[in-house]
Symmetry: C2
C-alpha cells in the first residue's frame, strides 16, 4: 500500500491540510509530523526507548555537528546514524547549511561552497554541496537535505535573490552528487519573505524533481504573519504529491497554522530547549515550573496528560529537581514537552480526518493563547 | 514468613557471610544489599522506573540535603519521600550527621547538637539528635539512622573516644525522640580504627536495643586493611539477628570483603559519581570510556552485560556523548554502573548460598584487580 515514498491518504476539503504517509526502509511516518531534534546524535536527555514510547516516528539530526564531532567517517564505521545511536526508526539529517550560517564563525561563501571556523575549536573547514551530500550519505539517514544558503531576516531583495539563485545551483550539484539508494534527498525552497522569489525558487527546484521539499529561511525573526503569508503564496506552487517540510518551526500555534496551509513536516529544538529552561508546555500555556509558585504544587505538569512524567510526578518534585540542578528534572520536563507536541500532531491528524481543523485551531488557541 | 523486621535466611559455615531479608511496609530487601544513593531525592540521572528495572530493592537519601532543600515539611506534605519522588520500594535516610561534618561550614559541636552553615547559601542552622529524628520521621523512610558524630581519620584516641561517647548519648536521645511506627531506627557504631572503642560503642548501643546497626566512620581515608581489621574485631560483638550496615562503602572489593566479614548492607555514591567522570565499572576493572582510545570501540561497555546500556549502545557512542557533554552519556554509564553493583550483590548472594564466596572473591579480584 505504501510502496511509494509519499502517499497522500486524505486531502481536506476545507483547508490545504492533508494526511499522508512517508515510507522508508526504517518504517512509516504519518504526516503531518513533528520531528524531535537530536542535534548531536541524541535528543537531549532522552533515550531512544523513551522516544519510541512517546510515539516519535522520526527524529532529526545535524550534519554540521556530526561532521565536526565525532566525524561522519566514524558514524559510517558504526553502521550509520541508526546503528551509532541505537535508533531504528526513520531519521532526517539537515545539510549543515543552516548551522554553518548560525553557529560557525568567519564564514566565507563562494560559488564553490562555504569556508568557516568550527564553533568548537576554531579549526578551519570547507563544506561544498558535494561534501554535504557525501557526509549525509555516510550518516545514512532516510531523508537528507540539499546544502543551502539561509538568508537572514531582514535582508534586502537583491541579497535574498542572489542567495536563492546560489541555493538553486547548489541544489542541482547536490542532486548530481547523491547516489545512495533508499535515501531521499529534499531540495530547500528559499527566497525570504519575497513572494516572487519564493515562487521562483520552488519552480527551479521542482524542475530538478526532488522527492520532497523543505521550506527554509522562515521562523528566523520575521513576524509570524509574514511566515503564514509566504506559506499561502508558496504552497499552491509546490507539487501536491510530495511532502512539504517547514524547517525549524515547532511552537503549537505555528504547527497548527502550518498544517492548515498544507505543511506535512516540522522540526524544532523548542520543546527540548524549553525543558532545559524549566518550562513545561501545557494546553493552558507554557508553565514556568522552575519558579517558586510551584514549589508546593502537587499536581502533575498537565492534568490529564498520560506521559510518564505526568503519571508519576508532581510540579513540586520537578521544581525541586530543577532548583537542585538534578538531571532528572530536565529529563521529566523534556519527556512531557515532547509528549505534548507528539500528541498535538495526533490531535491535528484526527481533526483533519474529521474536517474540523479550523475549529480545533480556534479551541486550542483560545485556551493556549490565554495561558501565555 | 518475614513478619519480623530482619530474618537470617542462611548463615555461611565457612565465613561470617549470611543471607537475610529485611521486611518493610514498602516491600522486602534481600541482603547482602548495595543501596544506590539518591542524595537529593533522586539517584543522579536515573528515573525510579529505571532503578526498578535494574532490580534496586532499596535506595538511600540524605536528611541534611532534604532538610535544606526542599525542606522536610514540604516532603511530608507531598506524602513523604516515597510519594515525593515516586519510589514505592524501601528507602533508608541517613541522619545528616556525616554530611554536616563533610559539607557544612563553621560547625560548632556541643552536647546539645551541631550548629553549622549551609553549603548552599551560608545560612545558619542547628541540628540536634531530636531534630534529626523529627526530620527523618517527616521524610518517612523505612529505615532511619541515629544522629552521630563521625570522627575524621586520622584522629587521636582521646578525640575519637569523646566523639564515640557523644554519639552514644545522642543515640539514646534519638531513640527517645523516635515514635513513628513502621520505621526502623538504627544506631551507628563509631570508634574510628580503635578496636576497644569500637567494641565499647557496640556494647553501649546494643544496650539501647536498636533493630539494626550502622558501622560509621570507616572508608574515610584509612587503609582498607585497617577497615577490614575493624570489621573482624567488631562484628563478632554485634547481635547476629540484626542487620549490619557498613556506611559509605561501595567499591567491589570492599563489598565482597565486607560481606565475608558479616556485613549485610552497603551504600556509596561511587558508582554514580564514577559515571559522571566518564568511567564504567567492568569485571576487567574500571574503564575510562571518556578517553580517546574508546572513540572507535564498537563493543558494549562490558561484554555479556544484560543492562539496557550494554544491550543497545557502544563505547564509541557513549564516548561521543560524554565528549559532547550530552546527558545521555552519563545516564547510560550510570545505568551500567548500578547494574554492575546490583548484579555483583546477586552473584555474592548466590556464592554464599553455594558456600563458595572465598573462591568467588579470588576469581573476581584476579580479574578486576588486574584491570585497574
Amino acid at each position: 500500500m505504501h510502496n511509494q515514498f509519499f502517499t497522500v491518504d486524505y486531502q481536506s476539503a476545507t483547508t490545504r491540510a492533508r494526511l499522508g504517509t512517508i515510507a522508508t526502509e526504517h518504517g512509516l511516518v504519518r504526516t503531518p509530523v513533528f520531528m524531535p531534534v537530536g542535534t548531536q546524535a541524541t535528543v537531549k536527555t532522552m533515550s531512544p526507548r523513551e522516544l519510541e514510547e512517546l510515539g516519535a516516528e522520526i527524529i532529526l539530526s545535524n550534519t554540521y555537528h556530526l561532521y565536526l564531532r565525532p566525524g561522519h567517517d566514524l558514524v559510517a564505521e558504526a553502521g550509520g546514524l541508526h546503528g551509532f545511536m541505537g535508533w531504528n526508526r526513520p531519521i532526517l539529517t539537515d545539510s549543515g547549511g543552516f548551522q554553518v550560517f548560525s553557529l560557525a564563525t568567519l564564514r566565507k561563501i563562494s560559488e564553490e561552497g562555504v569556508e568557516f571556523r568550527s564553533h568548537l575549536d576554531g579549526s578551519k573547514h570547507f563544506i561544498s554541496p558535494e561534501k554535504s551530500i557525501q557526509i549525509q550519505m555516510d550518516l545514512g539517514a532516510d531523508i537528507i537535505m540539499a546544502f543551502d544558503e539561509c538568508a537572514p531576516y531582514p535582508a534586502d531583495r537583491s541579497y535574498v535573490k542572489r542567495s536563492k539563485d546560489l541555493t538553486t545551483r547548489w541544489a542541482k550539484r547536490c542532486k548530481e552528487a547523491h547516489n545512495r539508494s533508499g535515501q531521499a534527498l529534499f531540495g530547500i525552497v528559499q527566497g525570504g519573505v519575497y513572494h516572487d522569489l519564493r515562487r521562483e525558487s520552488a519552480e527551479e527546484l521542482i524542475e530538478l524533481d526532488f522527492p520532497g521539499y523543505g521550506i527554509g529561511g522562515l521562523s528566523v525573526g520575521e513576524p509570524k504573519e509574514l511566515m503564514y503569508e509566504v506559506l499561502e503564496e508558496l504552497i499552491p506552487v509546490m507539487p501536491g504529491h510530495k511532502p512539504r517540510y517547514l524547517m525549524g518551526v515547532g511552537s503549537p500555534d505555528c504547527l497548527i497554522e502550518g498544517v492548515i496551509r498544507g505543511v506535512d513536516m516540522f522540526d524544532c529544538v523548542w520543546p527540548t530547549r524549553l525543558a532545559r529552561h524549566g518550562m513545561a508546555i501545557t494546553r493552558q500555556g507554557n508553565l514556568p515550573v522552575r519558579d517558586q509558585p510551584y514549589s508546593r504544587d502537587f499536581r502533575p505538569l498537565e492534568e490529564g496528560c498520560t506521559c510518564y512524567t505526568c503519571q508519576n510526578f508532581t510540579r513540586a518534585y520537578i521544581r525541586h529537581l530543577l532548583k537542585a540542578k538534578e538531571v532528572l528534572g530536565i529529563r521529566l520536563t523534556t519527556i512531557h514537552n515532547l509528549a505534548f507536541l507528539i500528541r498535538l500532531m495526533q490531535d491535528i491528524r484526527q481533526a483533519i480526518r474529521e474536517e474540523r481543523l479550523l475549529e480545533f485551531r480556534d479551541e486550542f488557541m483560545a485556551e493556549y493563547g490565554r495561558g501565555r
